[in-house]
Each structure stands twice: as structure tokens, then as C-alpha cells.
Symmetry: C2
Subunit: 155 residues, 2 copies
DNA sequence: CCTTTATGGTAAAGTTTATTTACTCATGTA
DNA sequence: TACATGAGTAAATAAACTTTACCATAAAGG
């Protein structure tokens, strides 16, 4: 049995729902959709764990250790992801000659194509949300989430 | 090296941020915090995968297959989680004599205590967000997210 | 009544993913 | 020089998930 493409609705009244579930469920739905549509668009070999690397703001020009920190995983785990993505042709690791033993991640053409596709999918999703909520309300939602982002709440 | 307790801020201007990242980052921050505080409150043995079971609206009275579907994983994977949580004393699986071979998950006292603790943590988080955004704006945020939840967007 | 089909559940093996442990290389500094 | 530090990597181990396969109950069809 493989993973489903979508999740069943939770049988609850949304009144008593807390911010955790309210954020988690839509975020997961978006995450799934991105993977599914990437896989259906010529990027069949990308799996969930790879998303920790491709995620906004993307790995281009960033050092492995920083990527690990961003993703909340060990440098070793990130390194395995990077090796995998390198083998699949999405990126390359080159020496960053300026600083010690540091290396740097460069996306390949294919990597940038996948990243652009992700962007397109997210644009589609935003269009749908805007149509559902109304343009003003959707802008408000993004504004409020941006304020959360800027605040120390998310650290 | 073990997982960090918090993530570094992404070096970006939030203007060009898409809804994916705007939802993902706060949701992950909440998720991490819940695990960390649970671990620090006498529930040391709960790990990330277990959260797929404990997540709102909780497993009490639900059948394993339904939990698997909700979590977006195979019945077998869910069953391993349930076995683990059963061994740790958070729940029990009993026969549901009404329907076929169906079983049902019952939370133990300890399980309900963990679930209640999760709820408390989320209440704390909501309080902090309300203080940061303002009560009216926070209510607006939840209202907008509830509308997304109710819509077909998240399925 | 017997066979088939569908549903719900479980177990073991195998694969993937992540952590633990241990090491290299470059740089700074006492 | 000797020592410490930070960044990176690799191999071994452990954890988590999927694949494959199976059992048990109920419903339907002959």
C-alpha cells in the first residue's frame, strides 16, 4: 500500500480547534500536493525527505551545515540527502575556497527546473485559496502569517 | 548530534513569501515545541512519529485503519505506532465486537494525560500569539484558517 | 451449504531515512 | 608546536516506513 494522495476530513466542529491543527492540516495538504504534482511533472524521483532541501528559500549557494540547521536535522542526515540529490542530478557540491573546509551547494539546471515547478504549483494553490476566501481575506491571511513569521514566535 | 530545539530564521524578506512557507514554518515550530515540552513534562518517551497518533482530534475510540488514513500512512505503519504506544502505556487496543474483526483504540490514563498536556501547551501558544498579534487579529487568523479547513482546499 | 469477495487487521521481511560514532581538513590561538 | 574549534564527511547502527503476505469476520451468490 502506498501513501494516499489526499486525506479524509476530520470529523469535528472547527469552533474548538486550536491553532496547531488549523495550521498543520493545510500545510500538510500543500506539502502532499507539491510532491504529487512534482512527481507527475517529470520529477518522479523526488521524495518527501528531499523536500527538506528544496523547501523555500532553496539550497542554492548555501552551505550543507546551514541547510541542516534550517531543516532541523543533523549535518550527516542532510549530507545523505545532498548526496542523493546530487546523484539524481538536482545539485552539486563544490568547494567554497574562501572559508576553511567549507563547501557550497549549487543547483543544476534540473534542480532549478524543479524549484521553478514548485513555485508554479504554489502559485496555483494561492490562486485557488484567493478564489475561495476572497482576495482581500487571502491577503489578510498572508499578512497575519507574515507577522507571525517576523515575530519571535516561530523560533 | 541530536535535533535542535529551534530553527534559525530564514534570511528573506517576507514580501515574496508564498503560502506554503508561511504555513509550514509556524506549524513546524509548534510541532517541535509540543514534542519538546511533552518530553520535558514526564512524557520523555514520546517521539515525533507518535504525534501522528496523538494529533488532534486524538485516537480515542477510533479504529486503527481510520487513524492510518487520517495520518496519511499505511495501516501497517500505523499499527507499529500503536504497538509502540501500547508498550509505552499510552493506549490499548481492544476488540470492537460490533463490527467484524474491527478493533478500537482506547487511551489509558497516561495517554489522556499526555493529550491534556498537549492541549495545555497549545493554549499557551495561543496566548502568546494573541499577545503578539492582538486579540482581534488572532481571532481573524483562526477564522480564516477555519474557512480554509471547511473548504475543499485541504483535501 | 459452500465458495467467493470485501473489509479490517496483523506480522515479518526488506527498504529507506536518520542518528550515533568516528574521522579528516583547515584555521585560529596559546 | 600543540591544542582547540568549526565545517564536512563516512561507516555503522537504529528507527521508521513500505512491501508482501497472511488471518479472521461478514456479506453475497450459486
Amino acid at each position: 500500500m502506498s501513501r494516499p494522495k489526499s486525506l479524509p476530513p476530520a470529523p469535528v466542529a472547527p469552533n474548538d480547534m486550536l491553532i496547531g491543527a488549523l495550521l498543520r492540516v493545510p500545510a500538510q495538504a500543500i506539502h502532499r500536493r507539491i510532491i504529487n504534482e512534482l512527481n507527475a511533472s517529470g520529477f518522479e524521483d523526488l521524495r518527501q525527505p528531499h523536500m527538506a532541501v528544496l523547501q523555500f528559500p532553496g539550497p542554492d549557494g548555501v552551505r550543507p551545515g546551514m541547510l541542516a540547521e534550517r531543516a532541523g536535522m543533523s549535518k550527516q542526515a542532510m549530507n545523505q540527502l545532498l548526496r542523493s540529490l546530487e546523484a539524481l542530478g538536482y545539485l552539486a557540491r563544490s568547494d567554497a575556497p574562501d572559508q576553511g573546509r567549507a563547501r557550497i551547494v549549487d543547483m543544476t539546471k534540473r534542480g532549478r527546473a524543479a524549484y521553478a515547478k514548485m513555485h508554479d504549483i504554489l502559485r496555483d494553490i494561492e490562486r485557488e485559496w484567493r478564489a475561495e476566501l476572497g482576495p482581500k481575506e487571502f491577503a489578510q491571511l498572508k499578512e497575519l502569517l507574515s507577522r507571525v513569521w517576523d515575530s519571535p514566535l516561530t523560533r
